[in-house]
């Protein structure tokens, strides 16, 4: 039983399932959105190469990204940190400096902070609360046949950053006198260590009066995001490899690593990009075709059609999620 099936089985009958946030429907014109993220040391982050300030920033950014992924705006952030005694007060100051910086940048109030103990490394829990106009909320379901599939920013660069960090870590462990050489990798490193939630795109869409028919954030690779979105929307899709936005630094890192590592694999299966993947009705084509930071990468197909990528050689590749297999046998 895979992860998707398991979550669906466990959360069967809950008021809302499988979207990036819990949606609370009050009485007014706006829906409340809540997302909780728990990051566990050694699983979700590696202290060897994660500066604490970046970790704090990223933890908040990830929770806010889930608010953005429902076309919402964040308002409050709650943080709870469990640490062992090996963390100094100065270390926690650094962590909270990053937490505060991200809250300020995205105009969210830090309304709660709690610190407890852990024997199992650091456990960092961030809850983001936001809202969205009832008529503008974007779920994972909602994409229809012929809707345009769009993504923001570029894909695979966060994974390229991780590859660089892992390479330097291995070299360092073999020879502790070695000084990591991270020059020239600024962009991919920042993408991995300090992602930015795409609230700018949420604003641009609102300004252009475009309501996405469906939306999700790309946290576990494009393939995983497309599969979730198509599954929830009961549609298939075709995306075009040549339209996938991939930064030249990502390509450079791939070619350094191995001749068999393709940049498109990083985009499809890399994860941690925190870009937005969304669909819009064809009638909105003119409004989004020149929107900065938005790329049209394909379109939704009919029910029962597969989720595929078309290569420049016109080969069709059926996509499978590879990023998250934790609960697979």
């Amino acid at each position: 039983m895979g992860k998707v099936a398991l979550v669906e089985r466990l959360t069967d009958g809950t008021a809302c399932q499988g979207d990036d946030c819990a949606v609370i429907d009050g009485t007014g014109n706006r829906l409340t959105l809540i997302n909780t993220q728990t990051l566990v040391e050694g699983v979700n982050f590696d202290m060897t190469y994660t500066p604490l300030k970046h970790l704090g920033y990223k933890a908040v950014a990830v929770a806010i990204s889930n608010i953005a992924a429902m076309n919402g705006t964040p308002h409050q952030v709650l943080v709870s940190v469990a640490v062992s005694n090996r963390y100094s007060v100065e270390a926690l100051d650094e962590l909270y400096a990053g937490i505060r910086l991200c809250c300020e940048r995205y105009h969210a109030d830090l309304v709660g902070g709690e610190t407890g103990t852990s024997r199992a490394g650091m456990v960092l829990t961030v809850t983001a609360v936001g809202d969205v106009e009832r008529d503008c909320v974007a779920y994972r379901h909602g994409a229809s046949h012929n809707d345009l599939i769009c993504c923001t920013g570029d894909l695979g660069s966060a994974y390229a950053g991780l590859l660089v960090l892992e390479r330097e870590k291995v070299t360092y462990q073999a020879n502790p006198d070695f000084q990591p050489d991270l020059d020239g990798y600024d962009y991919v490193l920042e993408r991995f260590l300090k992602p930015e939630p795409r609230l700018d795109i949420v604003k641009k869409l609102a300004t252009a009066a475009v309501v996405p028919t469906s939306m999700i954030d790309v946290s576990r690779g494009l393939a995983d995001a497309l599969l979730h979105l198509c599954r929830a929307s009961h549609c298939g899709c075709e995306v075009y490899e040549e339209h996938l936005p991939i930064d030249y630094q990502t390509s450079r890192v791939c070619s350094e690593m191995s001749k068999n590592m393709l940049p498109v694999s990083c985009a499809l299966n890399g994860g941690e990009d925190y870009e937005l993947l969304f669909t819009v009705n064809q009638k909105d084509y003119d409004k989004i075709k020149d929107m900065e930071g938005v790329h049209i990468i394909g379109y939704a197909t009919e029910e029962h059609m597969p989720t595929v990528m078309v290569t420049p050689q016109n080969t069709t590749i059926t996509l499978r999620a590879q990023a998250f297999q934790g609960l697979e046998e």
Copy 2:
């Protein structure tokens, strides 16, 4: 630097600090309350003697207790579980059965569930969302000189339950053929494994038109709760040992363990009772003196006065928090 000082330093400048929930002030007559609890295996719970259904129930109960501790009512619950492969699907079904049971009992909708991977045992994060009328919210601050100090239920019994479980665990580890004998300990075991948030008291107070001047839940022992409440309210207090509600089973467990273990120590420093500690104005004395489940245990004293317990022999003991020293050097 102790835990209290550390949390205050880290959360300095946040919109709300040190209460049981984050308080979000919207536009209406009601305040939104949010509390997030993270439970880490090996730190907050021991799988040796924690049935998964009870664990799920307790995780939700603890988050809801924090909503109750601000005189609020829960409405939604979000759960996120990170587990390693050694947990079967059936085990997670059990966990969720407990989660659902507690949500149903306290009329909270389970609006979000997420399952991820962990290499460090189970990490369980529960976020409870509730609300409270603006005029009825109870913070930790707000107690004034001569206010009556009240607590609910009985104290120390959860800790007595933990002592029994730890005793049986040690015996079992020494001799795996040994069958744990838990007969006659039903009450203290249930108190530890399956605590109930005191929403019944929140309702009774509302029915009696009593708004507590301050409130907190007793999660780390009475001493810790009194110290937090007095510190936030800038007052001292006197509580009377003979008025502390202690169940006979708690006393029995203590006498079995050691002749030096006093039931009052369990009440003061035991923790995990999840009862409510609150203060009311003297004018409300008639309304609460016969309220079932509520005990008047003392009164608040003036600023700069100490937090003390008076023994039946009329000795005054200054209280210190002993329960939570995780971040102390």
